[in-house]
């Protein structure tokens, strides 16, 4: 089991850390935590095979009443980027965080956060969902504000904490109301209960949905609830930024997807809300990103925009669009993880995140520069890299549903985003350095290794998307097939 591996890691990392500190061994803790995450791949692969065979795997959690983990294709698809980006950022942290103190707690929190995210996407009822949600959230609060003696992480962390915990509470209220209506916290049970059309216009249900959308929306940084993100993501240490931007906000998306499926009588309304929010998010993200001077802040806004695309794809609600959204979740995790790591590498080397200071730094740090270019081109939707494939699928899903206006708006957003990605590329890679960068050196090997993992996946998916397209399509099909979901969990 993936979760148990990580939970084991959470428990043992502080011990290993403490022991190695005592013995004066360097990097043992770092390598240990990377190893734990890497080990999680083994149960993950077994899990995939199981899911492929069975469809939905149900694990009861002992000693917690009725709480279960249910893993289907969608969950499996979400776990993959979490593990990959988690592993990459863990390796990356080895040198990136080497000057910080309190690393025991850092790595513990890191694996707790990964644990939380995996738990969220494999939860089978609201209890489990909320449990892991809080594990993930609390560890991320702590990680954002990890360098707590500086002003930026503290301010951003506090804003993040207040907004996000308010979001959790709002979501919990929604969950409570849903429980009141359905009488169960189990997803399958709720789905079964929600099949009754009478419920569709129950005001309480409407309140519940609103609360849940807002609660998840805050986590997923859907505009106008995104305001914590541009603060928190740049403020966090770069490996954490890449985890936050790359995968954590996607748990919100996962929640939206899951609940979208559960409340199947409400699809039309849900789609309406989501599509409105999606375009708001896209435009705000893209337009605001345009003139950012801080590289990580720019990337943060770009994440908002990407969430907009994903939300839009969700709002269409066909198999094609859901699978496009899933593929984009994966792709965006790779690209954005990569970009934040590259930005972090520049920050690590120059001590600045200001783009005007970083101008031309790609010439000094060639490898990092090339990796950054891959990421930027991928996210700008260049064919041959992964971003293109999923963006193409999103647009084509929209056109298939004859949503021409929406497709056009999305394409306009692609164009706008290309502008700033390209400008960033140009300034980092091509300009003559404006400030003195002569002492800047290439990033350390472990940081490069973390980035290379993600970059090679970007290229691989771009060149050979076949496998990922089929998996995501399968996942999309499974996601929408609510009937067999209910049967396989509740039986009969």
């Amino acid at each position: 089991m993936v979760i148990w591996t990580l939970a084991f890691g959470c428990c043992t990392i502080p011990i290993v850390g403490w022991v190695s500190d005592r013995l004066g061994l360097r990097y043992v803790r770092e390598w240990y935590s990377s190893l734990v995450i890497a080990l999680a791949f083994i149960p993950y692969i077994l899990l995939i095979r199981l899911v492929a065979r069975v469809g939905v795997v149900v694990y009861p959690i002992p000693s917690l009443f009725h709480s279960i983990l249910t893993v289907d294709m969608v969950s499996v698809f979400f776990i993959l980027p979490i593990l990959i980006v988690g592993f990459a950022s863990s390796i990356y942290s080895t040198s990136y965080m080497s000057h910080d103190t309190g690393l025991n707690s850092y790595y513990t929190l890191l694996s707790a956060m990964i644990l939380g995210m995996i738990g969220v996407v494999s939860a089978g009822d609201f209890f489990t969902f909320f449990l892991f949600w809080e594990v993930m959230s609390i560890s991320s609060y702590a990680l954002v504000a990890f360098r707590k003696d500086r002003w930026e992480p503290v301010e951003a962390g506090f804003k993040y904490l207040v907004m996000s915990s308010a979001g959790s509470a709002l979501m919990l209220s929604g969950i409570a109301i849903v429980y009141g209506i359905a009488g169960t916290l189990n997803f399958a049970g709720i789905a079964l209960a929600m099949r009754t059309p009478v419920l569709a216009s129950d005001p309480w249900l409407i309140l519940a949905i609103s609360l849940i959308i807002v609660g998840l929306g805050i986590k997923a940084a859907i505009a106008p609830m995104h305001t914590w993100l541009p603060d928190a993501h740049p403020a966090a240490p770069s490996p954490i930024s890449s985890l936050l931007s790359g995968v954590m906000i996607k748990t919100g998306v996962y929640g939206l997807l899951r609940f979208y499926i559960l409340f199947q009588t409400l699809h039309a309304y849900w789609s309406l809300i989501l599509s409105i929010l999606a375009f708001l998010t896209m435009f705000i993200g893209n337009l605001t990103a345009m003139f950012q001077t801080d590289i990580k802040r720019l990337l943060a806004y770009s994440s908002i925009a990407q969430i907009g695309y994903i939300t839009f794809a969700l709002s269409i609600g066909t198999i094609q669009s859901i699978s496009a959204a899933l593929l984009h979740v994966f792709n965006h995790a790779m690209m954005k993880g990569l970009l934040f790591m590259a930005a972090g590498a520049f920050y690590h080397a120059t001590g600045s995140r200001d783009i005007s200071v970083l101008e031309g730094v790609g010439r000094r740090m060639k490898l990092t520069g090339v990796i950054l270019s891959i990421g930027l081109l991928a996210i700008a939707g260049m064919p041959g890299l992964n971003g293109f494939v999923s963006e193409l699928l999103i647009v084509s899903a929209a056109i298939q549903q004859e949503l021409y206006l929406q497709a056009a708006l999305t394409i306009i957003n692609f164009v706008i985003s290309v502008a700033y990605y390209l400008r960033l590329l140009q300034r980092i890679m091509l300009k003559e350095p404006r400030s003195d960068l002569s002492r800047v050196e290439e990033a350390p090997a472990t940081m490069i290794a973390g980035m290379v993992i993600l970059a090679s996946l970007c290229v691989f998916v771009g060149v050979y998307p076949s496998m990922f397209i089929s998996i995501s399509e399968l996942a999309g099909r499974v996601a929408l097939d609510i009937g067999s979901y209910i049967t396989s969990i509740l039986g009969g």
């Binding site: 809080e134 609060y141 506090f158 919990l172 429980y179 009141g180």
Partner: protein, 102 residues
């Protein structure tokens, strides 16, 4: 009876939201979070009772307990952060925390 509790908890939600945008003291913000969590807990308990009158419904109550404990964790982190903010900024006025913008 249940309706009263429900209305009460919705009112709590409103109060919390009001607190979020009117209070400048950071601890008051955290208290607003607590109020919001309590509103949710109240809803859970109320619905638990509503679904099974006269019994103790395990599921919602355990969820409520979970949420109380997690809120405790959140509050702890929040208070630590407030302390850090006070060290760095010398104030606990949330409107002074406006260096990150634009």
């Amino acid at each position: 009876m249940y309706e009263a509790i429900l209305v009460c908890s919705v009112a709590l939600i409103a109060v919390a939201l009001y607190g979020f945008y009117s209070k400048r003291h950071m601890i008051k913000m955290v208290i607003s979070v607590e109020i919001l969590v309590n509103a949710a807990n109240l809803l859970l308990i109320a619905f638990g009772a509503y679904r099974a009158p006269g019994y103790v419904e395990l599921l919602p109550q355990s969820l409520a307990i979970l949420s109380i404990s997690s809120a405790g964790g959140v509050t702890a982190v929040a208070l630590a952060l407030i302390l850090a903010v006070y060290k760095v900024y010398g104030t606990v006025d949330v409107r002074k925390l406006r260096r990150l913008r634009g």
